[in-house]
């Protein structure tokens, strides 16, 4: 039972002790409303610039949210127009050539309902991981990862630590390498069985770090470590949902004669530098989800940087360290 569930049950349970309660349906008039444009776009130097457009719907509407497919999006780089995006598929607008660069500012503009929707973001400069280490927690599927970095002094920095277990599967036929599959688990830091203060899964070592309740994104600021060299102590479960063999469609019981395979395991440690707007968005999204079902807390609205709309146009840039977990020393192909 996670913290969110605990909280809901505990509060409601205590109240249930006090009295019999009841529910009734209320009329809820949301008044006249023009749907607003929703922008979903987070850019980074390793990917082509991509934007998704949709629109808001009534809170009582249970229908599918429809994408916006009929717009043109003007893209500016450091105030210079660089491309006009047109609809590609399912609400996505893809750039043909823009890989965002560190330190540059990108701006989007599109028309909506007689007005202009716009947003901008400056791609941050990544901070290198100086060193990283990892170990198992005995008899569990949990890993502890330590990562050291030096926070640039002066300007405020916003970070996200991301831990990605990765499995590399090498398949051989009669000793010859014929196939490699790489699987990366998307879950970054699982907080399922941690709770309350610890739930974020990141504990500072040495210097305190800004923490957030149920920090499922693993985000923090340098507010309290400005200019310091800091070691993060993060924890993540290391497992894949199901056997690797099933994921790559290998049945160990019916492997054809002559076929062998090996699995190497790695942990990819990412330290991402986030734009302020993306950090605020993730922080508010995190708290939005935490308090979403708890009626006793002030609900959290998403912090958006979209002018005349809602959503996020943010950016990040990161550095990576790969930690070997189980790597076979020699593979047949390398003999």
């Amino acid at each position: 039972m996670d913290r969110k569930t605990n909280s809901r049950y505990l509060w409601l349970g205590l109240l249930a002790l006090l009295a019999v309660s009841c529910e009734k349906v209320l009329d809820y008039d949301i008044g006249d409303y023009e749907p607003e444009v929703v922008v979903n776009s987070v850019i980074n130097p390793d990917s082509l610039l991509t934007v998704h457009l949709s629109q808001t719907i009534s809170i009582l509407d249970t229908s599918e949210i429809q994408p916006i497919t009929d717009r043109q999006i003007e893209v500016y780089e450091d105030d210079q127009p660089v491309e006009i995006l047109t609809h590609s598929h399912d609400g996505y607008y893809l750039s043909s050539h823009i890989y965002p660069e560190e330190g540059r500012t990108y701006q989007l503009k599109l028309s909506a309902g007689g007005g202009e929707v716009s947003a901008s973001t400056t791609v941050p400069v990544p901070v290198e991981i100086l060193g990283a280490d990892t170990r198992f927690i005995d008899d569990t599927h949990w890993f502890v990862v330590k990562a050291t970095f030096a926070d640039p002094p002066g300007e405020p920095n916003f970070y996200q630590i991301s831990l990605m277990p990765r499995a590399e599967v090498y398949v051989y036929l009669d000793g010859s390498h014929v196939y490699t599959a790489s699987l990366t688990r998307k879950t970054v830091i699982d907080t399922k069985y941690s709770s309350f203060l610890h739930s974020m899964g990141i504990l500072p070592e040495g210097s305190p770090i800004e923490e957030i309740l149920i920090n499922k994104y693993g985000i923090f600021t340098d507010q309290l470590i400005d200019g310091e060299t800091c070691t993060l102590n993060a924890k993540t479960p290391y497992y894949f949902p199901g056997k690797i063999e099933q994921l790559i469609d290998i049945n160990p019981d019916t492997i054809p004669q002559g076929v062998t395979y090996y699995i190497d395991w790695y942990m990819d440690v990412y330290l991402l530098s986030l734009s302020r707007s993306y950090f605020d968005y993730l922080k508010s999204r995190n708290l939005h989800d935490v308090v979403a079902d708890n009626v006793f807390f002030e609900p959290m609205g998403i912090i958006s940087n979209i002018h005349n709309g809602i959503g996020i146009f943010g950016s990040y840039a990161g550095s990576r360290k790969t930690l070997p977990i189980i790597v076979h020393p020699k593979k047949p192909a390398e003999r």
């Binding site: 309660s21 009734k24 949210i65 006793f296």
Partner: protein, 806 residues
């Protein structure tokens, strides 16, 4: 050699009096007030009736013949007379000669929630003080208001300008202020929590209460430290001549009250105690400790004890103590099979409160013109929350555990001096000082877990530390003419924290003008400073509300309030009172958007921000104070807003307890000496709430665990109004004289017409209907429509209790 009076001499004299108690040769004429206290109906003289001279904090009793004689200094006198089972009578007058006052007390008229104030219309007209609500609370408060107990805080919530919080809670909100802006004094000692059983009851035992006054504005200079109200509750002293007591049996708890002389006319005691049996009921109905079992525990007890020593005719020493203990626990357990393995999961949550105060007070009448008291007090408030989680995999010999403990507390050691001085018949001067050493004791425990990596402990706030603070005050109630009175005062407060010194000069000014003997006009201006903040995360008063001090970064809260009032006495029976007010708040704190109470080992000050607030409104009170039927109708029209730079996009938003209309109707009727009945009807605009009107799609991004999902879109904070709140409560009391006293059966009905009042709102589905829509493949699909739902807490609740007074 003649002494030349200088400003310096005057100040020196002031402090000599203040710190040494030397009165000098400032004796004024002393007058005698004497008379009898009798039953209004039967004329029976009442032995052991209590006479209070409030400005002297002196208490007297009638002798066995119901006669009394006491001496007071010339000038204004505020006096009350009370007796067990009778309405306390209040008088305010000026005395210029020996006077005989024969007091006829009315038998208590019962209402399920409050005893009618017996302030005479004349006294309300004459007093300079405005914006007050006197809650005389003799032992007449015997009928249940809620589950068997009348409560002083629920009575306070019936005053104009006072809003209750959520249903069932003890919080109250005065003229747009927050719960943390109420100074709640028990015998002069500030309390930091007043809740029992998560707010169902307050810590105030009505059997122990001598007087209760709520100040909403025009604060006398002796009060400070909170912005919005002062609830000053005085506790009883023991009867010096006779033994009295009562025993009450209620649905949730029982209580006992005893008082009497230890040494007749020399030493008396007064003890009141309560204990719930909710814990015993739970134990009886709960399953055994075997799993699975979901159960809880609610327990509290409290006691008030007071020992009074009459050292001389002019000197009285009082030793008092209060202790309140609350324990609340919740246990949720489960067993489940996952992949053929049996798991046992247990969640334990417990919350405990502990209040302890002890004090020594010395009252001294130095002369006919100077009286004073000195108090040394200790106050300890502690709260702790413990949570542990346990997940065991069968036959593995291992368990995943997590523990979390959190605590906070405040310890005060305070020293008070209060003096009243009557230099002439046209002046009534009060002055005094306070020194407080305040210790913040978070008592945070860093739990040890089975696994090092599961250790959960980071203190949220580093509150350990001490604060030294104090104040001086001086006020003069000046009679300028027969028609014009004014009260001019100042409260100078200061605080030292982390080497930083904060101070504030708080002027207090009140004015009363009598247009005629039926119409009086009053006005006041007050400024207040508050050096403590109550930081709330939840939308209801909750355990995670934290008292946090001012720091170098977090500055004090400040308020300024102007009030105007008009009192019109229609007759000796009916009175109309109209007040308007405007209050400006500065430095009020709240969490920034996206922040909450956990999450940082340091720097909590950076999670909050200071903002401003305004509140204004009008309060209309129509009272009938005499006759078989009496009561009042109070109506409040008010606005209350807040503004923070980083909350709600910097825009002004309604305070959660902004309540446009608030109406209280209180009616009591005395059918006979044996049957009394009453009702209250309460109506209030619904609380402001933040509801999303729309939703949108949030896509999944790299390095985030989210799949794409729907998130709620909030346009404005507190832009939605919950449905209006209204409730009717009824009560009937039956009395019967017995050999050794009076027994009382009390029958009440809370929420008599069973109105479903909103406790909170949420979005759900209406499973009584289905609507058709088109599916992704063009097919027709049916589903329950999404709707807004209201959760109501307290339906109609009957209550009965039995008490016996002797």
């Amino acid at each position: 050699m003649a002494i030349k009076t200088t400003r310096g001499n005057s100040i020196l004299l002031f402090f000599l009096i203040l710190f040494t108690g030397i009165s000098g040769r400032l004796l004024a004429q002393e007058y005698t007030i004497s008379g009898t206290v009798t039953d209004d109906r039967t004329g029976e003289r009442k032995a052991g009736a209590t006479l209070m001279i409030h400005q002297q904090e002196a208490e007297y009793f009638t002798d066995t013949t119901g006669f009394y004689s006491l001496k007071v200094s010339g000038g204004p006198v505020w006096m009350s007379a009370g007796y067990e089972g009778y309405i306390t009578a209040y008088f305010q007058f000026r005395i210029r000669k020996d006077t005989t006052i024969n007091i006829r007390l009315q038998k208590e008229i019962f209402l399920d929630e409050i005893e009618v104030t017996a302030n005479s219309i004349e006294s309300n007209m004459a007093r300079t003080q405005m914006s007050t609500f006197a809650i005389p609370t003799g032992n007449v408060l015997t009928l249940p208001s809620f589950l068997g107990e009348t409560d002083i805080i629920r009575s306070t919530q019936l005053a104009t300008g006072v809003q209750s919080g959520n249903e069932g809670s003890m919080g109250f909100f005065v003229r747009g202020g927050s719960a943390g802006q109420n100074l709640i004094l028990m015998d002069g000692i500030p309390l930091y929590t007043i809740n029992h059983m998560l707010g169902i009851y307050s810590v105030f035992n009505t059997d122990a209460i001598r007087s209760a006054n709520l100040y909403k504005g025009g604060f006398p200079a002796r009060y400070g430290g909170r912005l919005s109200s002062v609830l000053d509750i005085g506790l009883k002293e023991g009867n010096m001549t006779q033994y009295h007591g009562n025993v009450s049996l209620g649905l949730i708890f029982s209580k006992i009250n005893l008082e009497g002389p230890i040494l007749k006319d020399k030493i008396s005691f007064h003890i009141s105690a309560r204990r719930t049996y909710a814990d015993l009921i739970y134990k009886a109905i709960q399953k055994p400790a075997n799993l699975p079992a979901n159960n809880g525990d609610l327990f509290f007890y409290d006691y008030n004890a007071k020992l009074t020593v009459k050292m001389s005719e002019n000197s009285r020493l009082t030793l008092g103590a209060f202790k309140g203990v609350d324990e609340t626990a919740m246990r949720l357990s489960d067993r489940f099979v996952h992949k053929n393995v049996l798991y046992t999961e247990i969640n334990n949550l417990s919350m405990n409160w502990n209040n302890f105060t002890a004090y020594l007070k010395w009252n001294k009448t130095y002369s006919n013109r100077l009286i004073g008291n000195m108090m040394l007090a200790y106050n300890n408030y502690l709260f702790d929350l413990n949570y542990d989680y346990y997940l065991e995999k069968e036959n593995s010999g291992k368990a995943n555990t997590f523990e979390f403990a959190y605590g906070s507390g405040i310890k005060d050691l305070l020293f008070n001096l209060n003096y009243s001085y009557v230099p002439s018949e046209n002046h009534y001067v009060t002055f005094g000082m306070n020194l407080t050493n305040q210790c913040y004791n978070p008592d945070t425990d860093l739990p040890e877990s089975a696994e090092e990596e599961n250790r959960g402990g980071n203190s949220v706030f580093k509150l350990e530390g001490r604060i030294q603070k104090g104040y001086l005050y001086l006020e003069d109630d000046i009679r300028i003419s027969e028609k014009l009175n004014t009260s001019v005062g100042a409260h100078l407060s200061g605080l030292v924290v982390d080497g930083r010194f904060y101070s504030g000069l708080e002027p207090r000014l009140s004015l009363r003008y009598l247009f005629s003997d039926r119409i009086s006009f009053k006005s006041s201006y007050t400024r207040m400073n508050q050096y403590l903040h109550l930081l709330s995360t939840a939308t209801i008063s909750s355990p995670v509300d934290l008292w946090v001090p001012v720091t170098k970064k977090v500055k004090p809260e400040k308020s300024s309030q102007v009030a105007l009032g008009l009192t019109y006495g229609l007759s000796e029976t009916y009175e109309v009172n109209l007040e308007t007010y405007y209050k400006k708040l500065k430095g009020v704190i709240a969490y920034k958007d996206g922040e909450t109470f956990t999450g940082s080992t340091l720097g909590w000050e950076d999670k909050i921000e200071a903002g401003e607030g305004t509140s204004y409104g009008a309060e209309l009170l129509f009272r009938k104070t005499k006759g078989k039927t009496y009561g009042w109708i109070g109506y409040t029209l008010s606005w209350s807003n807040r503004q923070f730079e980083n909350i709600n996009y910097g825009k002004v938003f309604p305070y959660r307890y902004d309540r446009r209309h608030d109406l209280n109707v209180v009616v009591m009727h005395d059918f006979s000496d044996r049957i009394q009945a009453g009702f209250t009807w309460i109506f209030g605009t619904g609380n402001a709430a933040s509801l999303s009107a729309h939703q949108f799609m949030a896509k999944s991004f790299p390095h985030t665990p989210d799949d794409e999902g729907i998130v709620k879109y909030f346009h404005e904070r507190n832009s939605y109004r919950m449905p209006a709140y209204h409730r009717l409560d009824l009560s009937v009391n039956f009395y019967k004289k017995k050999k050794y006293g009076t027994r009382t059966w009390k029958i009440g009905l809370y929420n008599a017409y069973n109105h479903q009042n909103p406790f909170f709102l949420f979005f759900g589905y209406d499973d009584s209907r289905e609507v058709a829509s088109t599916g992704p493949d063009g097919e027709v699909v049916y589903s329950s429509p999404k709707v807004l739902k209201q959760f109501s807490l307290l339906p109609v609740l009957p209550a009965v209790s039995y008490s016996y007074r002797f």
